[in-house]
Symmetry: C2
Subunit: 393 residues, 2 copies
């Protein structure tokens, strides 16, 4: 199995390290034939080239691994590779969320595979596990912690009693957070992963516009407020079937301290999926990093090599996405006046509690839609407000 | 895919329920053709028979599911089914631990498969996941909570502050524990599962005689003693590579309250496996029960149906099992005199602490072998002693 890797960042290096140092009969049968790098970058390995045509025209290349990140040139290169009859494996959640259907269609036309295990949950076999659950069961819901950066930040804030900005700087220093951390802390990265898993779990092309609230505004005081109640906040993605409707969202969620979710440390991920007969399954592991994510990519290459049965992706179902069917309880910390809050949430506002000079309101039995629209209204008065859902098991 | 089920207990009913009520294109292609029950039992379904030859001679039967439990007639029937050219899928850990090599050999000779996902971790895709990790990595260790009954007992003791005997009775009433609970509470059931996973993870036939200590003697006071230190006890199986040696054991382990293991509720299981590049993966789910275990069996049947690449089991490695290489710390509660304890454990005895009239000793930097041999000595003086390993991450 001859592999060409597009990009030589963290994950690209991981893929090369695993394939160049094989310890099993599977990885022994692979080799790196090309590493594509951008023009002007130094070619530090003999496999490196900056001309993609060399890879497209090399008939001995079986698989192209795309680990460039971002939309372009990733999108164009994936399409060209598929059209050239190469299987494509990617870790790029952004381009996969945006173009999943196109990639799968072009792959099918050219009788090759497009695999994307590494897009969600890093080294965790999440995508394959969801596919496996679907062989027997209907999935009633899935949820999880799918962003290592924000889990690291929330875990350090909880364990060290630090402020958000200090931990973010520390995370950037350690390479856990990007220079511009927006995609992570605003929930955009998680939203891409949620979109991918939703498409897969429910046989549809999931929309990109579901409600998202990140952790940019969380404070040490918020963490302490929940700590006093034996609760821990985690940034969570969720998809839930309610009758004939499907609801998805990305929100900070407050878990009981003794839950599995609350125990997820550092930059680890935890994905949960519930099926009719299997009940709840949870999958835990490194959500990012050179070798774990590289491992997920190499697992996809092995599936191709072993001719494993291709998943028959079917995105034709007319799933009704609806955000006012799932009813939950929330905690809102804001400096907006109680009058303003009541004008937005009406009788859903149940209790108000003062903690270290902040006021925390419970907003009860409210739909995802009402909550997120109300929050947007209140952000006009208090852009630093924070809201989190109470986990109801 | 025509399936014959041997046995119609909890799991047999689960398999039939899933196959007879298909909701996917996979289960739609299966049917139950025979259910074998013991002579004299009432035939409540048209598929039932008590003559195994009918199944062996029915050329339309593709897969035989063995869910009888115990060694015989399970062993004989599995061998006969394989020799008759039927694939065999089992949930029976006892017979699989004892005869794994024979089953795989006979399956190979007859060009059929012997699959056993349901033997370990109930509905959790544990066996397949360990196999998958091995496609790329060496496994440095695996461990986990693989017995739902004891986890239920320990969880209720912790959460309700109940005594062992009361919770055991409650578990028996709920059907979580057998009338004779020895196999569960003495760690024998976990030991079978450890033996199966060890054979698989390390390409060898694992011996059955590794050190085992169960939870029969744990008391409410023990639970409270650890609770005061923010610790939770779980019955755990472990296999660990130390240089060229492999060490396995079943022991109660004391985890920090904020660990994933401590959070495992009710009769759930949690398996962890660590590989070179993937790092640590954890798999959580229902470790027993009609539908989850039935689901694991049906997953095996789908793998056969889909012609998934058969795992090339290789038990030929000369693995050196050795129990005096892994050094750990333990807590021992006993009424034996300090002189007796010191005569057994010497300078490994570090501290003694009195809690509610019991004395708890720490036995530090001691090998598995020394610990278990010492415990056996002390049991002659105090058969109700309790020992647990301190988890060191």
């Amino acid at each position: 199995m001859r592999v060409a890797v597009l990009g030589y960042g963290t994950i690209g290096r991981g893929v090369c390290e695993i394939i160049m140092n094989p310890v099993t009969s599977y990885t022994n049968r692979m080799s790196i034939s090309h590493i594509w790098i951008r023009k002007g970058k130094e070619k530090i390995l003999p496999e490196m080239c900056d001309d993609f045509n060399i890879i497209l025209e090399d008939k001995t290349v079986d698989v192209v691994v795309e680990v460039l990140g971002g939309l372009e040139p990733a999108h164009t290169m994936i399409i060209e590779a598929l059209k050239a009859g190469k299987h494509v494996v990617t870790a790029n959640k952004k381009v996969t969320a945006m173009y999943l259907q196109e990639f799968l269609d072009v792959a099918k036309e050219n009788n090759v595979q497009f695999l994307f295990e590494a897009t969600t949950g890093g080294g965790i076999p999440w995508i394959r596990s969801v596919e496996k659950v679907k062989r027997i069961d209907k999935i009633s819901d899935f949820h999880g912690i799918f962003n290592g950066t924000t889990n690291y930040i929330l875990d350090r804030m909880y364990k060290d009693g630090s402020e958000f900005d200090d931990v973010l700087k520390q995370a950037q220093k350690l390479g856990y957070a990007e220079h511009d951390p927006s995609a992570d802390i605003d929930g955009v990265d998680v939203a891409n992963k949620l979109q991918i898993t939703t498409s897969l779990a429910y046989d549809c092309i999931a929309p990109a516009d579901f409600p998202v609230f990140g952790i940019r505004t969380i404070t040490k005081t918020d963490i302490d407020y929940f700590r006093e109640k034996d609760q821990v906040v985690k940034l969570t993605a969720e998809a839930k079937v309610q009758g004939e409707f499907l609801s998805c969202c990305v929100e900070p969620v407050v878990f009981s301290k003794d839950s599995m979710e609350a125990s997820v440390p550092d930059n680890f991920n935890l994905g949960s999926v519930t099926g009719t007969t299997i009940g709840e399954l949870k999958f835990y592991g490194q959500g990012a990093g050179k070798l774990p994510t590289g491992n997920a990519i190499v697992q996809d290459i092995i599936d191709i090599m072993e001719g494993e049965e291709e998943t028959a992706f079917d995105f034709s179902k007319d799933v009704k996405f609806c955000y006012n069917k799932v009813i939950k309880n929330y905690v809102l910390r804001t400096t907006a006046t109680e009058e303003d809050i009541r004008s937005v949430f009406g009788s859903h506002v149940k209790t108000a509690e003062v903690f270290h000079g902040n006021v925390y309101y419970t907003i009860e039995e409210v739909s995802t839609l009402t909550l997120h629209e109300g929050v947007k209204e209140l952000q006009k008065m208090d852009e630093l407000l924070f809201v989190a859902r109470l986990n109801q098991g």
